[in-house]
């Protein structure tokens, strides 16, 4: 396990980190609230064109300006954020089940096949997760980009979770528990309850950040779901033609995306520079 992972674990309990974590959760909540009030917040429906002059700059009359087809950027950003969030929340359980939970379970219960799975995960995490996501999206079809992103995050989450469980099992107190007759299943239950209580929010937020980055990059590359469900990545890709003059067409969606990722990173307790 690399030093970067445990450094985050070490500093997680400082008051600053706890405050930042709370801030991240609040940010996610705020964005979620915005998305829930999508219809009220966005004056125009998704994809409605010619709401005003094409490529109008921000501030007046459209708060974020308009794009090449006259769509109101503010509305589009809100709708795009809704789609991105929905996709991310959809991919999250896949990443957690196939990654975090599976790793924990494998370390505790699978005596022989566990290490084998861990070795297989090693091969998968040697390649950037983006490559895996692209691969899965191509194999499963673009409409299943959500599943692809979840599966692409799973190997790294599996490895992290497996290593953590393994280090817990090798600790003196686990040795001692075994010495006094505690069996594997009880140890698994006990460790799972403690881990859930202490770090489920951080783990889920970390997976969320990773999944969002992959989903938006996939859409940007053109591997994501096709319109009319435009997510933020697709919006940014579509706006490339208007750059660099009409910077607001890509700028604001990018800002929204960055805010979402920032909130998830803070909630996950990731250090500066640490990858999701």
């Amino acid at each position: 396990m690399s030093a970067t992972d445990t450094a985050a674990a070490r500093t997680n309990s400082s008051p600053l980190r706890i405050a930042l974590g709370g801030l991240g959760l609040a940010g996610l909540g705020a964005l979620g609230a915005l998305v829930a009030l999508e219809d009220i917040a966005a004056p125009y429906e998704a994809g409605m064109m010619r709401t005003g002059e094409a490529l109008a700059p921000p501030l007046a009359p459209h708060a974020f300006g308009t794009d090449l087809l006259g769509r109101d950027i503010w509305s589009e950003t809100v709708h795009g954020l809704a789609v991105t969030m929905a996709d991310a929340v959809g991919a999250l359980p896949i990443a957690l089940a196939a990654g975090t939970f599976a790793g924990f379970l494998a370390a505790h219960m699978l005596r022989y096949s566990g290490p084998l799975l861990r070795a297989a995960a090693n091969a998968l995490i040697a390649v950037p997760a983006l490559f895996l996501a692209v691969l899965f999206a191509a194999l499963l079809g673009h409409q299943n980009a959500v599943v692809a992103a979840g599966l692409a995050v799973a190997p790294a989450a599996f490895a992290r979770s497996y290593d953590r469980a393994h280090s817990l099992l090798a600790s003196p107190h686990a040795d001692f528990a075994r010495a006094t007759g505690l069996d594997r299943w009880s140890l698994f239950r006990r460790d799972l309850i403690f881990e859930l209580r202490e770090s489920i929010v951080a783990v889920a937020a970390r997976a969320l950040a990773a999944v969002v980055i992959l989903l938006s990059t996939l859409s940007f590359f053109g591997f994501g779901a096709a319109p009319p469900a435009r997510d933020l990545g697709l919006m940014i890709a579509a706006a490339r033609g208007a750059l660099p003059e009409a910077w607001w067409t890509a700028g604001f969606p990018l800002l929204a995306l960055a805010l979402f990722i920032l909130a998830a990173r803070l909630a996950a307790g990731l250090s500066e520079g640490e990858r999701a």
Binding site: A3, A120, N122, L139, F176, E272
Partner: protein, 309 residues
């Protein structure tokens, strides 16, 4: 009652790491073989057929033979070679930029007064997804310099230097500037984080006070022991830094149009050119594993033991 296991000797450790490297490479070969097997028509039929085709492909994969590219008709490795070379050139430039930016960044993050300013900036900057950063880098450079994207006849960096033609060199450097900057920024983040952790960890160890009491001055303690320890910890993270740089390379290539292996992989998958995709995957994985191996050995040579991270 719970004892701690004694550390292994250097020789045994090197052997164990080599075995691990071999196993990892084998795993990567299997993965790449499975990928290449998708191209075999028989494999499309069912899962069993696919597995059989994949297993058949493994020996060939070890010999780096993945079949022929659907697009170019060349053997997969040959087809991927120019793209791989382009990526490694980009990688090298990006690594240099990343180290130049990352070392001061890491030190800034480690020292308490500067950390308060540097940390939030890095956290904010790190929340922008790579493709966004690549776009921003391209736009920024386009404002400052007369940049044109890579044209069909843009030479590779090596060829441009070799030809000694100033206009070709300028064209190549112009094309590589934006992606190199993107990778540099990503690399700076990775190196900076690793360095910060290394310095923090090395500085907190108890022998500093002990050695001072025994009579060695602070400066010597830092120079001889703490710095060495920090370097060792930094090298141990080499594999992670390499992975971060690869991801950045793939995105930067796609955005800027630089004809590297990352973009090539995405294209190959889109066009279902599985042999080429498999070849690229194997090379990337192999480089990552090699970096892990070298980093672990360097750590051990600098005196680190196989302690928990």
């Amino acid at each position: 009652m719970m004892g701690d296991a004694p550390p292994q000797g250097l020789g045994r450790y090197a052997l164990a790491r080599t075995a691990l490297l071999g196993a990892n490479l084998a795993g990567a070969a299997i993965f790449a073989a499975a990928l290449a097997a998708l191209a075999v028509p028989a494999a499309q039929a069912s899962l069993i057929d696919f597995l059989a085709a994949a297993i058949e492909k493994i020996p060939a994969a070890v010999l780096l033979d993945f079949g022929t590219s659907r697009i170019s008709g060349l053997p997969a490795m040959e087809a991927a070679a120019p793209a791989l070379q382009a990526t490694f050139e980009l990688f090298a430039i990006g690594a240099i930029v990343g180290t130049l930016l990352g070392v001061p960044l890491g030190l800034a993050l480690a020292a308490a007064p500067t950390r308060r300013i540097a940390a939030p900036i890095v956290q904010l900057a790190g929340s922008v997804p790579l493709f966004g950063a690549a776009l921003a880098a391209g736009m920024a450079l386009a404002y400052l310099l007369p940049i044109a994207g890579p044209a069909a006849d843009t030479m590779s960096v090596r060829a441009a230097f070799a030809s000694a033609d100033p206009s070709a060199l300028a064209a190549t450097l112009a094309a590589v500037a934006a992606p190199a900057l993107t990778i540099g920024l990503a690399g700076a983040g990775a190196v900076g984080l690793a360095l910060r952790n290394a310095v923090e960890r090395a500085g907190a160890e108890p022998y500093r006070r002990g050695l001072r009491r025994l009579g060695i001055p602070k400066g010597q303690i830092f120079g001889l022991y703490v710095a060495r320890r920090a370097l060792a910890l930094l090298l141990r993270d080499a594999g992670d830094i390499v992975l971060a740089l690869f991801t950045a390379a793939a995105v930067a290539e796609w955005v800027s149009g630089w004809p590297g292996a990352g973009a090539e992989f995405v294209q190959a998958v889109a066009l279902k050119d599985w042999p080429v995709a498999g070849a690229i995957v194997l090379v990337f994985a192999a480089v990552r594993f090699a970096a892990d191996f070298i980093g672990a050995l360097a750590f051990r040579l600098l005196g680190g033991e196989d302690e928990p991270a």
